[in-house]
């Protein structure tokens, strides 16, 4: 798996602190939804920094990948991507990488529960986009926890998907500030929320949980407590590190 020089063909703001970079790849290898790429920056003095970014685009979108990047405070790589990179620039990447946090990992008709915190939604979006592009209609729920309305990455697309596809349910939860008139969840992820999310699905689902450590730990433990087997709960930590 060699490094290759991708060309930035589009940069799309998703939220005030999140941008999606479309990279055209000279050597495109079809990825699985949930996989990531490594990105490497090289300074003139030879210093190199690498980070991993989940692919947001589905494998059906060939020849290019979309990486959705959150700006991290003091972030060496995200800071450069936000301020130093324009359409037409080149970036070194290699991938796709990661064989466990991928969907489908079993029968694609099995119900799917996706739980995201913040930018943890990115690999889950690749799964939803793949599901849609492949014409799969397995029952699916995305429980997406954000602090406030302007932080909902892919909002339009997710709401459109939920409106057009009755087998997909979008459950948003705002932990700090909800939009005016909001009747949905307005709290941190808890046991009741996960019970309700699972209840939207006909049989116990395959679960993918991605977000900051606290959310992932708590969601995985609560799903376990509902009797879901460990093998049905796949987790990935994302975003600024904590603990």
């Amino acid at each position: 798996m060699d490094w290759q020089l991708a060309t930035v063909t589009a940069i799309r703001p998703e939220t005030p602190r999140v941008k999606t970079f479309t990279l055209s790849l000279p050597q495109f290898t079809s990825h699985r939804a949930g996989q990531h790429y490594d990105l490497r920056l090289t300074a003139p003095d030879g210093y190199q920094a690498e980070r991993s970014y989940s692919v947001a685009s589905p494998p059906e979108q060939t020849g290019e990948i979309e990486l959705t990047v959150e700006l991290i405070d003091e972030g060496e790589v995200s800071g450069y991507l936000f301020d130093g990179v324009a359409v037409g620039d080149q970036l070194e990447v290699r991938g796709p990488i990661g064989g466990y946090f991928v969907w489908p990992a079993g029968p694609p008709e099995a119900p799917l529960l996706l739980v995201a915190g913040g930018s943890g939604v990115v690999p889950l979006m690749a799964m939803l986009r793949h599901r849609q592009r492949a014409g799969l209609r397995n029952p699916a729920v995305l429980l997406f926890s954000v602090r406030m309305p302007e932080e909902v990455i892919y909002r339009q697309e997710l709401e459109g998907l939920a409106a057009a596809d009755s087998s997909f349910t979008l459950l948003l939860s705002y932990t700090r500030q909800a939009p005016p008139g909001w009747a949905g969840y307005h709290r941190r992820l808890d046991a009741e929320m996960l019970v309700e999310a699972v209840a939207h699905l006909p049989v116990p689902p395959q679960c993918y949980v991605c977000g900051p450590t606290g959310l992932v730990e708590s969601a995985a433990t609560l799903l376990q407590a509902q009797g879901l087997p460990d093998a049905a709960i796949r987790t990935e930590r994302f975003g600024p590190t904590g603990n």
Binding site: M1, A49, R51, E74, G84, Q90, I233
Partner: protein, 214 residues
């Protein structure tokens, strides 16, 4: 001419004379990375085993294990997800101490570490000897918490940290190298951060055009 990102430069110099392996950055946090839910292991049920290619297997209860001679370790650790953390403070039992309790068969060359919760990772036996590896029971002066692999985790700081199996239950000695959990999912068989052996295709013996299950 090697590729350069114009205008890019290091934001933070590395402090205190520590060296970062290629592609790594320093973090002050201790990030948590696992593939599934965190197992909770009651200490009364906990045991640690050495098995496989040994003349007779060894087994310790929690109390027996804690009665073994302990040492302090202050390694720099390196995660394949790119973070490194300097001067981590551990207490635990050296693998050299544990290996005194078994007689290895001569063909034993590799080890599969196995964990509560089903995690496995493979290592060359040579990477566990000579003061290079230990079973960590305390971190920063406190019992190791489950999120970081408690009650006990393998710590092999000179390899990427996924080799340092959390919730470790035992070691199985083998004649041939076999992939563990992440290795079976495309990661390096040895994982030397200084050679940047992150993925199977980075391994010196990786076939040129092999298609791994990445």
């Amino acid at each position: 001419m090697p590729f350069v990102n114009k205008g890019f430069h290091a934001k933070r110099p590395t402090e205190g004379g520590h060296k970062l392996p290629p592609g790594q950055y320093e973090t002050r946090d201790f990030p948590v990375l696992t593939a599934g839910p965190t197992p909770r292991i009651p200490l009364v049920n906990w045991e640690f085993r050495l098995e496989g290619l040994v003349e007779s297997p060894a087994k310790w209860s929690w109390n027996e294990f804690n009665a073994l001679p302990m040492q302090s370790f202050n390694p720099d650790i390196h995660c394949v997800t790119k973070w490194s953390k300097f001067d981590t403070k551990w207490r635990g039992v050296s693998l050299d101490t544990l290996l005194e309790h078994v007689q290895l068969k001569p063909e034993a060359q590799f080890v599969m570490a196995f964990s509560y919760g089903g995690y496995t990772t493979n290592l060359p036996l040579a990477d566990l000897r000579g003061g290079q590896a230990f079973i960590g029971l305390e971190y920063e002066g406190k019992p190791l918490v489950p999120e970081h692999g408690g009650p006990a985790r393998l710590v092999v700081p000179h390899l990427y940290f996924w080799k340092s199996a959390k919730w470790v239950q035992g070691l199985r000695f083998m004649a041939d190298d076999e992939p563990g959990f992440w290795e079976d999912n495309g990661y390096s068989m040895r994982g030397d951060p200084w050679k940047e052996e992150r993925y199977r295709s980075d391994d010196p013996d990786a076939p040129d055009e092999a298609h791994f299950r990445l």
